[in-house]
C-alpha cells in the first residue's frame, strides 16, 4: 500500500504536543501524531486512553488546552466542526452519529446540504447525490427512508457514505467495526483500500487488533492520555503491541477449565416476539457457556431480551428445569427465578450514570438488604465492598457517581450488579464490546469463575474469535432464527459466517 507515496516528507496532518483535561481528568498529555497522505494509521490503547478525545479535538468538537494542529501545511486555530469538515476531514464517530427521524439523504448531507441562494435547499441534487453515493458504495437503498427504519449495519454504511460525501482527504474511523461482522467488515475494508488508492489518509481506531494488523501501515499507541509510541506495522507483532498498550505482557489465551456438562437448566421452545425473532428453541446446561453468533441485526439481542422477559412473547415458552421449574413474563420475575441479562448498550440500558456505584450495584437485590422495606446500610456496605474486591473495580468511593468511572469499570459495575443476584443463568450481550484487551481478559476469567460455580452463561458476541474461544457450544442466528448449532471443537470462523449469511437458511434447520 505504501507504494504510492508522493512526497514522503510532506505530512497531511500534524497534531503536536496536544494536552486536554476535563475538569479534573487529564485526558491527553503532550501527545503528537503525524500522518502522511494515502496511508492507514492504527490508533490503539486501553479504554479511556484518550483516542476518541484526540480525534474529537481534530474534529473541532473539543478545543485542546495546549498544542497545535497543522493540517495541509497550515496551522489551524479554533476551527468549528463545520470548518473542519469543509477543510477535508471526516470523522466516523464511535457512537453512531445519525439523526434517526431524518432521511438517509438528509443525514448524509447534514451540515453541508447542497443549497442555492438564501439558504434554500437544492432538494433535487440532494437526492441525486445521495443515490449516486450509495450506488458507488454498492449499498443501494431508498435514500428517502428515515434512518430509524434501517438495520444497524445499514446505518453504519450510511455513516461511511456520509464521510465519503465530504470528499475528505483524511477520514477518521472510531471503532467502525464494533458492530460489523463478516461480509460487512470485508466491505468496509475494501472501501478503505479503494480510498487509500485515491490518496486518502485513514486513522483507524479499534480494539480488535487483528483488524489493525490487517489494514494499518503504522500504529500509534496511547496509554493514560500519553503517547507510548508510533511504529511501522512491520516492526510490530501482536504480543509487542499488547505490551505497549497494557504496559505488561498479557497472556492472550482464552481461559478454559475442564468440566462435565451439567444438568439441563433452561429450555426455550419456539420463542417469538413482536420483533424479528421467530421460533427460537434452545437448551442450556449448568456450568456451560453457550455462544450466540450472527450478523448484526440477526436477532441475537432480541433473543436475549425474550429470554429475560423484557419483550412479551408472541409464541413459545421459556422454563427453568430442575427444582425451581419457573417461567416468567417480565424481568422482575426472571431475576427472581435466577436469570439475568447484562445488556449490550451499557450506557443506555445498563448503567445509572447519575447515581452512585453503591446504588447501581445493589439495585436488583434490595430486598436482600432490607428489613420491612428499610435499607440496612451495613448490609449494603458489605455487598458493595465484596463486589469491589471480587471484580477489582477501581473507584474513588462507593458513593462516586457511575458516570465518572472509566468504561471498563462501568462495565464491571454492571456485571457486579447482576452477579450480586446470585443468578443461575447469566446472559451477556456483547460483554466486551468497546472494552480494551486487558479488561477483556479479566471478563473472560470472570466468566470462567462463574462457570466453576455452576452458573450457566449465554454469551452473545460479534467477535468470532471470542465466541469460538470461550463457548462450549455455539448457536448461529440468521434473520431472526436459529439456523444451526456448532460444537466448540468443530467451530471455525468460516463455517459460522457461512451459516450466518446464508440466504434462506431456514431450510437447513432440521
Amino acid at each position: 500500500m505504501g507504494a504510492r507515496h508522493k512526497s514522503m516528507s510532506e505530512y497531511i496532518l500534524e497534531m503536536l504536543n496536544i494536552s486536554k483535561s476535563f475538569a479534573g481528568v487529564q485526558a491527553l498529555k503532550d501527545v503528537s501524531i503525524r500522518c502522511r497522505p494515502g496511508r492507514v494509521y492504527g490508533l490503539v490503547g486501553e479504554n479511556g486512553a484518550g483516542k476518541s478525545t484526540l480525534m474529537k479535538i481534530l474534529a473541532g468538537a473539543y478545543q485542546a488546552d495546549v498544542g497545535e494542529i497543522i493540517y495541509k501545511g497550515q496551522r489551524r486555530e479554533g476551527a468549528s466542526a463545520g470548518d473542519v469538515i469543509d477543510s477535508g476531514i471526516s470523522i466516523i464517530y464511535q457512537e453512531l452519529a445519525l439523526v434517526p427521524r431524518m432521511s438517509v439523504a438528509e443525514n448524509i448531507f447534514l451540515g453541508r446540504e447542497p443549497q442555492r441562494a438564501f439558504g434554500l435547499l437544492d432538494l433535487k441534487s440532494l437526492h441525486e447525490r445521495a443515490a449516486e453515493l450509495t450506488e458507488r458504495l454498492g449499498i443501494a437503498m431508498d435514500t428517502s427512508l428515515p434512518v430509524s427504519e434501517l438495520t444497524v449495519a445499514q446505518r453504519q454504511l450510511v455513516e461511511i457514505a456520509k464521510a465519503l460525501s465530504q470528499n475528505a482527504d483524511l477520514i477518521v474511523m472510531d471503532e467502525p467495526s464494533a458492530i460489523l461482522a463478516g461480509s460487512e467488515l470485508d466491505q468496509l475494508f475494501s472501501i478503505i483500500e479503494s480510498l487509500v488508492e485515491q490518496g486518502v489518509t485513514i486513522i483507524y481506531i479499534s480494539h480488535r487488533l487483528d483488524e489493525v494488523f490487517r489494514i494499518a501501515d503504522e500504529v500509534t499507541v496511547l496509554k493514560d492520555g500519553e503517547l507510548v509510541d508510533t511504529r511501522s506495522i512491520d516492526q510490530l507483532d501482536r504480543q509487542t503491541l499488547v505490551r505497549l498498550m497494557v504496559g505488561r505482557p498479557l497472556d492472550e489465551i482464552f481461559p478454559r477449565t475442564d468440566h462435565e456438562k451439567g444438568e439441563l437448566v433452561l429450555v426455550a421452545e419456539d420463542v417469538s416476539t413482536d420483533t424479528i425473532l421467530e421460533g427460537a428453541s434452545l437448551e442450556l446446561y449448568k456450568g456451560e457457556i453457550l455462544g450466540i453468533a450472527g450478523m448484526v441485526g440477526s436477532g441475537r439481542t432480541e433473543l436475549a431480551r425474550a429470554l429475560f422477559g423484557a419483550d412479551p412473547l408472541t409464541s413459545g415458552t421459556i422454563t427453568l428445569t430442575g427444582d425451581k421449574g419457573a417461567s416468567w413474563s417480565n424481568p422482575a420475575q426472571a431475576i427472581e427465578s435466577g436469570l439475568v441479562l447484562v445488556p449490550e448498550d451499557r450506557k443506555s440500558h445498563g448503567l445509572f450514570t447519575s447515581l452512585s456505584v453503591r446504588v447501581n450495584i445493589t439495585l436488583p437485590i434490595l430486598s436482600r438488604i432490607t428489613r420491612f422495606g428499610v435499607l440496612q446500610s451495613q448490609a449494603e456496605d458489605e455487598v458493595v465492598e465484596e463486589a469491589k474486591h471480587r471484580l477489582s473495580i477501581v473507584m474513588a468511593s462507593a458513593d462516586q457517581e457511575a458516570q465518572y468511572l472509566s468504561g471498563g469499570n462501568q462495565q464491571k459495575v454492571v456485571l457486579a450488579k447482576w452477579l450480586e443476584t446470585h443468578p443461575a443463568i447469566v446472559i451477556l450481550d456483547e460483554p466486551t464490546r468497546g472494552v480494551d484487551v486487558g479488561a477483556k481478559f479479566e471478563i473472560y476469567k470472570l466468566m470462567r469463575q462463574l462457570n466453576d460455580r455452576g452458573i450457566a452463561i449465554v454469551m452473545i458476541s460479534s467477535e468470532l474469535p471470542e465466541v469460538i474461544g470461550m463457548s462450549d457450544r455455539i448457536l448461529v442466528m440468521n434473520d431472526g432464527r436459529i439456523v444451526g448449532e456448532v460444537a466448540q471443537e468443530e467451530a471455525t470462523e468460516a463455517g459460522i459466517i457461512e451459516l450466518a449469511t446464508m440466504a434462506g437458511a431456514k431450510a437447513k434447520v432440521s
Binding site: 468538537a61 452519529a97 427521524r101 427504519e149 413482536d274
Partner: protein, 324 residues
Amino acid sequence: MKVSTPLFAGLTDSQRLFLRRYGPIFAVYGFIVVLIIIGATQSERFLTVRNLTNVARQAAFLGIVALGQMLVILTAGIDLSVGSLVKLSILVSAIVMNGEVGNQGAAIAATLGLGLLVGLIHGFLVNEVKIAPFIVTLASLGILRGVSLSISTSPVGSASRPFIMFYVQKIGPIPVIALMFVALLILTALLLRYTVFGKYLYAIGGNVEVAHLSGVPVKLTRYGVYVICSISASITGLLWLSRMGVGDPAIGDGIELQTITAVIIGGTSLFGGRGTVVGTLGGVLLLGITANLLVMLGVNQFIQGLIQGIIIVAAVALYKQEGD
C-alpha cells in the same frame, strides 16, 4: 424502543410509517370536522362568512405564536415566556406609537427589536450558559411579566387610527390579519421544507450531539429559533394593539400554555425532531373552533371548562406519543 400499538397491527411497514407520521394530523382534523358538523347542524350562524372569517382572524392571534413555539419545540426546546412577551410588546408598542401615525414605524421597530433582544437572551442562556429551555423561559415568564407591570398596571399609550383600522381591513371577504397568518404559515412550511435552517431544526431536535458533530451550526440555529419565537410574540403584541387600540397589561396571561397545547395536539413531539406546520394549524383551529362553538351554541357555561379539558386530554392521549 420499538413501539407497537395494536392499532397498527396488520399493516405494512410503509403504511405504519405513514400512520405514525401523519396519524395525529388525521386525528386532529377528524376532530375539527366533527366540530364543524356539530356547529353547522346546531347553529345557523356558525357557517356564515362572517363567523368563519372571524374564526380565521382569531386563529392568527394564537397561530402566529404557535408557529414560533413549534420551531422552538422542534429543536427539543420550549418557550414559556411568550405570553409575558406579548404583554410587554403591547405596552411597548402602545407607548411608542402614542396614537401618532408618524410613530408607527418606530413602534413596530421597537417592538420587533424587543422580540429580537428577548430571543437573543434566551438563545444565550440556552446556548452559552447551557440552562434547560424550560427553566430559562420559566424565569423570563416571571421577569417579563414583572417588567410589564412595572411599566404600567393600567392601560397606557394608544394605537394610531390607521393601525386600529388595520384590524378590520379585508381583501374580499377575508381579513388581512387572517391572510397574514396564512402567509406566515406558508412561509414557515417552506422554511422547514426547503431551507437549510429548517433541516437543522429537525437535526438538532433529533439529536443535538449528532448535529453538532456534523457541522450543523447548533448555536446559531438555536439563536435563530428563539429569536423567531420571540418575534412571533412581538408581532402578536402588535396585532393585539391593533385589536384593542390601547396598550392594556391585562392581556397575555396563559398564551404560552395555549400555544404549547396547540402545537402538541398538532402532533409535534415535545422531545423534538418531529412536527409539521399543517399539524400545528390543526391544533390552533381545534382550540379556536372549540371556543367559538361554545359561544355559538350557548353551551352551559359551567361545563365549558370540562369540555375543553376533555378535548385536550383526548387529543393528546389518542395517539401514543413516541419517546426518545
